[in-house]
């Protein structure tokens, strides 16, 4: 049986037709591609995207800067007397992150001791591209606090 089957296989290209059958079956199935930018793929809850900072929650412990493996968080703080309560409090002068080197590892978020965290990477934004070379490479404190989560690329094109 096997010799006949092998002969038929070779003449009638049955193994190649099995492969073609697989592709034909897949041709009529639902496609898995996402038509970006009309459809946007939603990342998961824990997705490590662009970070954001909340200065009110931050206690200026600099643990995030210490934990960063590539040392790209730059923190300067000073003490000022709060007029309302009369106590000394820490204020942030500088909290900059060098985005061109950031690898979005999340160690700064893990190090942050406040609850909820003062620096967090789960802003679910992965669209960090821009049209000029120097923006979005080095993000300072104001940008971090007001980072626009979903820049609309489609609107910009229309404009």
């Amino acid at each position: 049986m096997s010799a006949v089957k092998r002969f038929l296989d070779r003449i009638m290209l049955l193994d190649l037709f099995t492969g073609l059958g697989v592709t034909a079956k897949n041709m009529f199935k639902k496609k898995h591609t996402v038509q970006y930018p009309e459809e946007r793929w939603e990342p998961a809850d824990r997705f490590r995207g662009m970070f954001r900072l909340d200065e009110d929650r931050c206690i200026k412990c600099t643990l995030c800067a210490r934990d960063c493996p590539i040392d790209i968080i730059y923190i300067d703080w000073h003490s000022e007397k709060n007029e309302v309560t009369g106590k000394k409090q820490k204020l942030l002068t500088r909290f900059d992150i060098d985005v061109q080197r950031c690898m979005f590892c999340g160690l700064c978020e893990e190090a942050c001791p406040t609850e909820p965290k003062s620096i967090w990477l789960t802003s679910k934004s992965y669209e960090l591209a821009s049209y000029d070379r120097w923006s979005n490479l080095y993000v300072d404190m104001d940008d971090l606090m007001d980072w626009k989560i979903r820049p609309d690329y489609t609107d910009e094109e229309i404009r």
Binding site: T62, A65, R66, I70, D71, I72, Y74, R101
Partner: protein, 267 residues
């Protein structure tokens, strides 16, 4: 340490048995003896109580699962009685400088000139036909600063063993390429990163860096920022104070043109 001191000591001391002393009266010899006996008895009781407390704490600790206990750091142990070490020592004598073991891995320190013979013996006689890894290390405080470490594996016994050779900057190490072909690129990498040459190697050139590279990067005196790159050759792009609070790294490159020559004095 008398019991009369207040019980505000750290817990390793005797547990608080606040001694109540009789008010001071003229001590006679008998009273003194009695007091001494009393003090001795109290000290003994305190020591016993302390032992009981320590044992109880150890029992609680042992009852915890291993990941909740404090880590038990492994230590170096002498492994001279290990049969493999004994066999090697009888064959090579002084070439095997020491045999120790750490976390269960036997490590033999071998003299520089005989490493190729020792390696061949391991392969031929003891079945260590597989070279797992060959790497270097730098200990700049030692006179012979470089280490070359060989990890071997035997399929027949399923055992792993480590050999170590120490050398300095000038002395080459005999190659083990004839023993295991896997050593070829590994030795080139050690040469590339540390500058340790291997005698008898068929192709002793740099492997991971380009041929004209200046220096040997994994040495401890080679800076992380590099010596022919970055701040060393473009100082005008790097601020003096640039850098994070921990002080490592070269800072960041600012999008501004280099400072004009006449503004810098003497540049």
């Amino acid at each position: 340490m008398s019991d009369r001191e207040p019980p505000s000591k750290p817990p390793s001391e005797a547990p608080a048995e606040t001694p109540t002393e009789p008010t001071a009266s003229v001590p006679s010899a008998e009273e003194e003896a009695a007091k001494k006996a009393e003090a001795a008895a109290k000290a003994k009781a305190a020591a016993e109580a302390k032992a009981v407390a320590v044992a109880k704490k150890a029992a609680i600790e042992a009852a915890k699962p291993p990941w909740e206990r404090d880590a038990v750091t492994p230590t170096w142990e002498e492994a001279g009685e290990d049969p493999l070490a004994v066999a090697m020592a009888t064959k090579f004598g002084e070439a095997i400088l020491s045999a120790r073991s750490y976390a269960g891995d036997l490590t033999l320190e071998v003299e520089l000139g005989s490493i190729a013979k020792v390696a061949a013996e391991f392969k031929a006689r003891h079945g260590f036909t597989f070279l797992v890894d060959l790497c270097g290390a730098d200990y700049p405080d030692r006179e012979k600063r470089f280490d070359v470490v060989y990890q071997l594996h035997s399929f027949t016994s399923g055992r792993r063993i480590r050999l170590r050779v120490t050398t300095d900057e000038e002395t080459p190490v005999p190659t083990v390429c004839e023993v295991w072909k896997a050593a070829n690129w590994c030795e080139r990498e050690v040469y590339d990163m540390y500058g340790v040459r291997f005698e008898g190697h068929p192709d002793m050139t740099r492997i991971l860096l380009w041929e004209g590279f200046n220096g040997h990067p994994l040495r401890k005196d080679f800076p992380v920022e590099g010596i022919d790159t970055g701040a060393a050759i473009y100082p005008e792009y790097y601020e003096d104070e640039a850098g994070p609070i921990t002080g490592t790294g070269t800072g960041w490159m600012q999008p501004k043109p280099p400072v004009e020559a006449d503004e810098e004095a003497g540049e």
